[in-house]
């Protein structure tokens, strides 16, 4: 599972590169893109670009997965630095693009049984406040369930719902709503 997910991280940006190449009309664009590879700006969620070879190459690697010496939770380049999971309107299923992040946190918790995490569930402002308390909790529990599959124990994971009470974006439009439909992964004291 681990090897497969790493492979996918490499494959996807490359696939998008080719995608860009076919739509790029300037001369020599195709060549340039193939040559520069990871330096090209590809429109993907940040999680993927940070795992491209350029990032890994820049760091000397005496360790296993990369050279960061210290608690993986504090590594700004690791998946563990991603602490927010976003959801579709009225849904609580984990979207494909966030599975990796949750897997990383789940594995970290499995490897560090003394570490506790709080999963805070949120919704956008639409609909009623108390129903949204239920929806926020459902989202947080969805993340918790996926982490437990990676080996995290339920005693490590607390679930709190804030419903629509703690938005990060104040607009009344889809842009703001999308930012509010989230679960925040919080390591108390870290």
């Amino acid at each position: 599972m681990k090897a497969l997910s790493k492979l996918m991280v490499m494959v996807v940006p490359v696939a998008l590169l080719f995608g860009c190449a076919t739509t790029d009309k300037t001369q020599g664009g195709e060549e340039d893109m193939a040559a520069t590879g990871a330096e090209t700006e590809v429109v993907t969620p940040p999680a993927m670009t940070e795992d491209t070879s350029a990032g890994a190459e820049a760091i000397a690697a005496p360790g296993q997965d990369g050279g960061f010496m210290g608690d993986p939770l504090d590594d700004p380049d690791s998946l563990l630095s991603k602490r927010v999971i976003y959801f579709d309107f009225d849904r609580s299923e984990i979207k494909d693009e966030y599975r990796e992040i949750i897997e990383a946190h789940g594995q970290y918790l499995a490897e560090n049984p003394g570490v506790r995490v709080v999963l805070e569930g949120h919704t956008d402002e639409r609909g009623t406040r108390e129903y949204n308390m239920g929806l926020g909790e459902r989202r947080a529990k969805s993340v918790r369930r996926y982490m437990s599959v990676q080996g995290a124990s339920f005693s490590q994971m607390d679930v709190v719902s804030y419903g629509e009470e703690r938005p990060v974006a104040m607009g009344h439009d889809e842009e703001s709503w999308a930012l509010n439909r989230r679960v925040e992964i919080v390591y108390p004291g870290r």
Partner: protein, 432 residues
């Protein structure tokens, strides 16, 4: 002669300048054709100061105007200013098309005040009612509201709801983003607002006890949602529910002895009933869905609640005797947050349709549903204790505001908070 009411922000301004600031100002955004013309003559002041401590006539006129059922005559249009003890020249009032006339006197006593008033039928030139009321300075506005209730009921044959209160949550955000939450109680006209709880963490779902002395609410002050019950006058409070998971949506039984609430300690949000004496919990719903927002029928025999057991949130009714559950709403993809009318005939709710969330009313007998508002982010409907108006929360511009609409949808009012956002209004019961 019938008057046609036009939008009148001027009247709201009059209410403000009367005595002190209102935390909430009221704009009638849509009035009613056919509202009854009435003249409330400014009450005569018999006291030692130049100005009276309260303009009783002004408070009464504003109350009647706010109901949307009356069109009070501006004092500057009055041909004479009789008081409660004067002889009335009914011709002065028939000329102006008035159907009713209110006259009164506010008299200073050794300690406290006396308010006397009379209500006349102008056409028949007869007195319909009149009272003399002893009161204190603190209770002058309440006395005026009680007189408004008497006038309303005498003319319309239905009880008024002017001497009632509202509870609501406010949120103020500092420039640096810090949020301040407050649970407030105000008179139904927005005056005398005072905080009963301030917090840096969210507050939700205030609910009045049936005797109007306590509020149950949800507070995040411990870091997760818990339910408290607080005495409005003394401020004394108890933590009544803090199970793991949600503690949510408290609703008082009509006899005040039990609280319906929502707990998720069983795996997902379900409706429970807590006996306030024994603290015993009775589980009412048991499903894999979100079951929440319970409300009691006025006779205490059933609950209506929101559930997405059918896929999307809809309203369901559960009979507390045999536990049978029956779906109530079928129109629209989203129906939630019920409020039951005091006469048991109507359920107000939030209806979501094509991206708009509006207040709708379901007639339980006929099954007909009527949408009452045309804004887009409405929530938290709450019936007045006389069943005539529904107060709710909405967004105007970037601001959370409280609004009220009559059950037939014809009269609209907006209550503007001076600072910050207001939401989750709860209309009190009749106060003792």
């Amino acid at each position: 002669m019938r008057y046609f009411i036009k939008i009148s922000a001027l009247l709201a301004a009059l209410v403000l300048t009367a005595n002190g600031q209102a935390a909430l100002t009221i704009e009638i955004t849509q009035g009613v054709q056919g509202a009854l013309p009435i003249a409330v003559v400014p009450f005569k002041w018999e006291g030692s100061t130049a100005e009276p401590p309260e303009r009783i006539g002004g408070v009464i006129a504003a109350d009647l105007h706010r109901s949307g059922r009356f069109s009070p005559l501006p004092p500057e249009d009055m041909l004479s200013r009789p008081s409660e003890s004067s002889r009335i020249n009914f011709g002065d009032w028939r000329i102006l098309g008035m159907e009713h006339l209110v006259v009164g006197t506010l008299r200073e006593l050794g300690s406290g005040y006396e308010v006397r008033f009379k209500l006349y039928d102008v056409f028949r030139a007869t007195q319909l009612t009149g009272y003399s009321i002893r009161t204190s300075e603190k209770r002058l506005r309440l006395t005026a509201h009680q007189i408004s209730d008497i006038i309303y009921e005498t003319i319309l044959g239905e009880p008024g709801a002017f001497a009632t209160r509202i509870a609501y949550v406010t949120e103020i955000r500092d420039a640096d983003g810090t949020r301040h939450y407050s649970l407030q109680v105000a008179d139904a006209d927005g005056f005398n607002a005072r905080p009963i709880l301030n917090s840096q963490k969210p507050l939700m779902s205030p609910a009045w006890s049936p005797d109007g002395t306590r509020l149950a609410y949800v507070s995040f002050e411990t870091g997760r949602p818990a339910i408290y019950i607080q005495e409005v006058v003394s401020g004394k409070r108890i933590l009544i529910s803090h199970h793991p998971g949600l503690n949510s949506a408290p609703a008082w039984s009509p006899d005040g002895k039990r609280l319906a609430l929502v707990l998720s300690k069983g795996g997902n949000p379900d409706v429970y009933i807590l006996d306030l004496d024994s603290r015993k919990l009775r589980r009412v719903t048991r499903s894999f869905a979100i079951d929440t927002e319970p409300v009691w029928s006025p006779d205490g025999s059933a609950l209506v609640f929101t559930s997405d057991r059918g896929g999307r949130p809809q309203l369901y009714r559960v009979a507390l005797g045999d536990g049978k559950v029956q779906r109530l709403t079928f129109e629209g993809r989203y129906n939630a947050r019920a409020s039951w009318s005091p006469d048991g005939k109507y359920i107000a709710m939030v209806n979501g349709d094509r991206g708009k969330y509006r207040i709708a009313v379901l007639d339980l007998a006929s099954g007909a549903m009527r949408v009452l508002t045309d804004t887009a982010l409405d929530e938290s409907p709450s019936f007045a204790p006389n069943g005539s108006m529904i107060i709710y929360a909405t967004e105007i511009g970037q601001k959370g505001v409280l609004s009220a609409v009559s059950v037939d949808g014809r009269v609209h009012q907006r209550l503007m908070l001076q600072k910050g956002a207001a939401r989750e209004p709860a209309w009190s019961p009749y106060l003792q």
